[in-house]
Amino acid sequence: MSLKKALCVLAGLLLVSGFVFASGGSESSSGPKVLHVAHFYDPMNASMKVNSDWFNGIAAQFEKANPGVKVQWDVYQWDQIDVKSMSDFRSGIKAHDVFLSSPQLSAQHAQVGDLADLAPTIASQWSKDELAQFSWSAAWKGGIVGNKQYGIALGNHTRVLVYNKDLFKAAGLDPERPPQTLDELVDYAKKLTTGDVYGLGMYFGPSRATIELYYSPFLWGAGTDTWDPVTKKAIFANATGVKAANFFKDLVNTWKVTPVADEAGTYDDAILNAFVNGKVAMAWGYGSYWIPALEQHGMVKGAFPPTADATEINAGVALLPGCPTFVNSWDVSIYSLSQNKELAWKFINLMLQPENLRGYGDAGLPIRASEWNGPGMQTPFYKLWKQSIATGHPMPSTAHYGELADTVAAALQSILVSNQDPQATLQKAQDDWNAKYAGN
């Protein structure tokens, strides 16, 4: 009898303490005002810690300047943070304020309504000069849908064509004259393909990077796109699209200047690792986030951190021949159901202060025009990167961007890996997408 009683009491205590312990994890409703900031830097990962430390620094400044306010972090995976915002909005959750967001999904955010329109606030609170600091970049346009703005770019991520000057010389090509047109590109690639080395590294793997960095630039260069903003329909199966698919096929199969492995694997392996290890002579879509790697491998000197004497030792950079490049960024946004919009705006402005923004590593190349005036950014090397940003292009403004990119990527995989007919495959993919999402 007493054993049973004891067990019951024990079980009850455990249960109660368990729940008390457990609900201790959720926030208390009273006490200091809490500003929720969402990012994707899990401090457990050493390389992410650098960025989460930066955020901690901003929070410390903010709490000092605003006594009575505590900053609380929400951490998500980088490829799921936008959807978290959208689904939490739909669920009526109010406990979010500042969100990092991806500009490619701006149109979807506009449709769902989970992010606040920042255009009025920017117009009333920023001076014209301050606006000019940001609006020169293609990344800025990514956060704008129509006349509303859902995100402010924190930096620039851009891509260029890199080429190995030593291999150029060995093939009898002028190391200071990179290819200017697509035909020249193929021509150079053929000359550069010898033995183990491929002339041109590309990436056609099953990911959105293929569409963003490789397929879309071709279409932009011809004046078209994967999606038409007027009819609001996918148009990637048009003549240029088919031409692009065939071009990729030829690179690998006909001219054999691009390794077959580029049809799979990772973007890092196909471009970054292949180039710095000398496996490809030119690499299309080399990212600005990989400038440190060039420095580490001695291919450039004095470029990272940027100094006035940056020299290209054996790596040269050039604009993509005949095509604008994809420019994006991580944006910062305000959640539309936020109960602390003014505080959120203050926080964002603190992040954007030049002294602060400079320290945010993951942001990429600077967004503020003033940052490009320093001596370290006046070298030909950096002038070229800047040019790629200024002439760059964001992805189309469809609310179903994710499915669009995935659909085209899958179609390209069928064409390249399974040898399906380019015209038919692209057309079927286009029809399937339009059946569901045309008009969005």
Binding site: A11, M48, V75, S87, I93
Partner: protein, 271 residues
């Protein structure tokens, strides 16, 4: 002659055991090796062993935090699942009543896909003011572990003779009291089996925390593992180190309770 075939047979049996063990262990052994090897070293035996991955990991306060969260969730899930499943299993095993078959149908409902209901569940939890708390994860985790737990316990009860219970009832004991003093003690292996099974499932669960608790102070171990896959590439040393560490608690639990667990799974009593 017979002796030779018998040793041959025994030898083959051992070979088969080793074969299966090798198939089972190979990926895990490779993980162990990589967690002690420097990054990007791809020789079978690494050029040198290093504790760097582990030391970097263990110097993080987050790992204790994530483990604590996983532990709390697992224990509380057991606290919910065990009593609820136990009395439910007893009812399904020993009683005859109207709607018994309907009871079975309800037990099957949580066998439906968790991901299919996760999105509406988030809104639901928010309305209950449980969003972003461990309670939400515990409740959802419990519901999805309930069918198997109930099923196991029910099978266990059925495999054990009712005679002892009936004797107690004839003697004038109330059913509830009999349940606590006689039936439950007899079910110990079954209970242990449910505890071990539920713990392992809860410890490894990723998807409920992913949907219901965004706060970094409430993250669980599997999410910590995913932290090593950034947008710029994967760090294998770190991932395997976390993976190996995450393996330890359930492994330990299982090894300690192995015999009881197996007995409980199949309705035996421990001799």
């Amino acid at each position: 002659m017979k002796h030779a075939t018998r040793t041959l047979q025994r030898g083959l049996v051992w070979l088969a055991f080793l074969g299966i063990a090798a198939f089972v262990l190979l990926p895990l052994l490779w993980g162990l090796r990589t967690s002690f090897a420097p990054d990007l070293d791809n020789k079978v035996i690494p050029s040198f062993l290093t504790l760097k991955n582990y030391s970097e990991l263990l110097s993080r306060p987050e790992i204790l935090l994530y483990s604590r969260n996983s532990l709390v969730i697992s224990l509380c899930t057991i606290i919910v699942v065990l009593p609820v499943g136990l009395i439910g299993a007893y009812a399904l095993a020993r009683f005859q009543f109207v709607g018994k078959n309907l009871g079975f149908v309800f037990m099957i409902i949580p066998l439906l896909p968790a991901i299919a209901v996760l999105v509406p569940l988030v809104a639901y939890m928010n309305r209950l003011h449980l969003y972003n708390s461990l309670v939400a994860v515990i409740l959802v985790n419990s519901v999805f572990n309930l069918p198997f737990a109930t099923w196991m316990l029910r099978n266990f009860i059925l495999a054990n003779p009712i005679s002892i219970e009936e004797a107690a009832l004839i003697d004038g004991c109330s059913r509830v009291r009999m349940l606590f003093t006689i039936a439950i003690p007899m079910m110990t292996p079954g209970i242990v089996a449910v505890v071990v099974y539920t713990f392992i499932n809860s410890w490894n669960a990723l998807i409920y925390s992913f949907a219901l608790t965004p706060s970094p102070t409430l993250r669980v171990m599997p999410q910590g593992i995913l932290a090593f896959m950034g947008s710029w590439g994967t760090q294998w040393g770190g991932i395997t180190a976390v993976g190996m560490l995450a393996l330890l608690p359930p492994l330990l639990l299982f090894l300690i309770f192995q015999r009881t667990f197996v007995a409980g799974l199949f309705g035996y009593q421990l001799k």
